[in-house]
């Protein structure tokens, strides 16, 4: 039980780090936009690879998009982390419940994106 709490605390620290990181990235993007006035909007920027490696990195819209992605992925990673925590704590019922939540989320994303 004690271990479980320690792990939960660790997850919450990770979450806070990731949320703060996204805030910083979005802030930088917004400042870039205000300074350069460059608001060339993205048409389809979903390919993460392209954003990470190929994009002209200082284009404000790309920076902001990266910040959004970091933010939006945080809760999903949190669920993944929970599956691991329940598994390690040998709480099989909740390993199953949490995995089901994750599967339904992924399914609805696939359906929604498709």
């Amino acid at each position: 039980m004690r271990d479980h709490k320690t792990m939960e605390l660790f997850i919450s620290r990770l979450m806070r780090a990731s949320v703060s990181l996204s805030g910083v990235i979005i802030f930088i993007g917004l400042i870039l936009f205000m300074v350069t006035g460059n608001n060339s909007g993205p048409v389809d920027v979903f390919e993460l690879n392209w954003i990470m490696f190929g994009a002209p990195f200082l284009e404000p819209s790309h920076v902001i998009f990266l910040g959004f992605m970091v933010l939006v992925v945080t809760p999903l990673l949190r669920i993944v982390a929970s599956v691991v925590v329940f598994f390690v704590s040998k709480d099989w019922t909740f390993t199953v419940i949490t995995s089901m939540v994750l599967s339904v989320l992924v399914l609805s994303m696939i359906l929604g994106v498709g």
């Binding site: 709490k5 939960e8 605390l9 997850i11 919450s12 620290r13 979450m15 806070r16 990731s18 949320v19 805030g23 979005i26 802030f27 993007g29 917004l30 936009f33 205000m34 608001n39 909007g41 993205p42 048409v43 389809d44 979903f46 404000p60 819209s61 902001i64 998009f65 910040g67 959004f68 992605m69 933010l71 939006v72 992925v73 945080t74 809760p75 999903l76 949190r78 669920i79 929970s82 019922t93 909740f94 419940i97 949490t98 089901m100 939540v101 339904v104 989320l105 399914l107 609805s108 994303m109 359906l111 929604g112 994106v113």
Partner: protein, 281 residues
């Protein structure tokens, strides 16, 4: 997109993020009308900004709450199973009733929830009634405890009527799938009144759940380009700031005051839903 516009969007978002995190509502229901009426942003873009803002509220609030050990993760996961299933069936359901009918129904259920909460407060003069775990909650070990800052004691609670709350969460999921709104206005009363869970725990757990549901939709929104980045960026930043403060404040508030504030906000939201469903606004 002037600096003044960005400032206003930021301020509005700080306000809605604060209230959303404080009350477990997610904040979208407060944010969207403010953006539409005060800044003349088309509802389409306001909704896109709001869905990302809801993720911001939830993640910012949850990282504060879990640290304070108020969030009940197990209860959240249990109910989240119902909500995600509901959202999935809601999104894939052909809307049998029209959207305006749904809005009116949703508004009416918010009003019903607020009246129930109010009556309970008047009768007991407390923000929650303590009950033991029911058989299912006992099997799943859903009850918990948390350190209550205002009363200065460790508060233990059980989860009563866990199945009805599970079903209500499913319906909340369907509604959010159909109307694109978070179900905090339904989940918090369900946990607090039906399942006899302390107000602070209900709020924290609702905040946790809302972000999980919203993140899936947010990815879809981003993918389809339903998001104006330069409207959404200040909104998300403001929401993050407001939510951190909102979540920190919950701890220091009396449960009863929190519940009274919740009821007032719920009445306003319910009335707005009904009016908007009737096509007046």
């Amino acid at each position: 997109m002037t600096p003044a516009f960005t400032m206003f969007a930021l301020i509005i978002a700080i306000f809605s993020g604060f209230l959303g995190a404080l009350l477990g509502l997610g904040g979208g229901v407060i944010l969207v009308p403010l953006l539409v009426f005060l800044l003349d942003i088309p509802i389409h873009y306001a909704a896109g900004a709001s869905i990302i803002a809801v993720v911001a509220t939830s993640s910012a609030a949850t990282s504060v709450y879990v640290k304070n050990e108020i969030t009940n993760t197990k209860l959240g996961m249990f109910l989240e199973l119902a909500t995600t299933l509901g959202a999935l069936s809601g999104a894939s359901l052909m809307s049998v009733a029209g959207e305006s009918v749904l809005q009116t129904l949703f508004g009416a259920s918010l009003l019903y929830a607020s009246i129930t909460m109010w009556t309970q407060m008047r009768n007991t003069n407390k923000s929650w009634t303590s009950m033991p775990n029911d058989w299912l909650a006992d099997k799943l070990d859903l009850g918990g405890d948390y350190w209550d800052e205002t009363s200065g004691e460790q508060v233990s609670y059980g989860v009563h009527h866990s199945l009805p709350t599970f079903l209500i969460s499913y319906i909340a999921g369907i509604v959010s799938g159909l109307l694109g709104i978070g179900g905090g206005g339904i989940k918090v009363p369900a946990m607090n009144v039906v399942s006899s869970i302390p107000m602070k725990v209900s709020v924290a757990t609702s905040n946790f759940m809302i972000g999980v549901t919203a993140s899936a939709s947010a990815l879809v929104y981003l993918r389809h380009g339903y998001c104006d980045f330069f409207i959404t960026a200040p909104v998300v930043l403001g929401t993050l700031i407001g939510s951190f403060f909102g979540a920190r404040s919950t701890r220091h508030m009396q449960g009863l005051f929190l519940k009274q504030l919740f009821v007032v906000v719920l009445i306003v939201l319910g009335l707005r839903m009904i009016v908007s469903g009737a096509g007046i606004l």
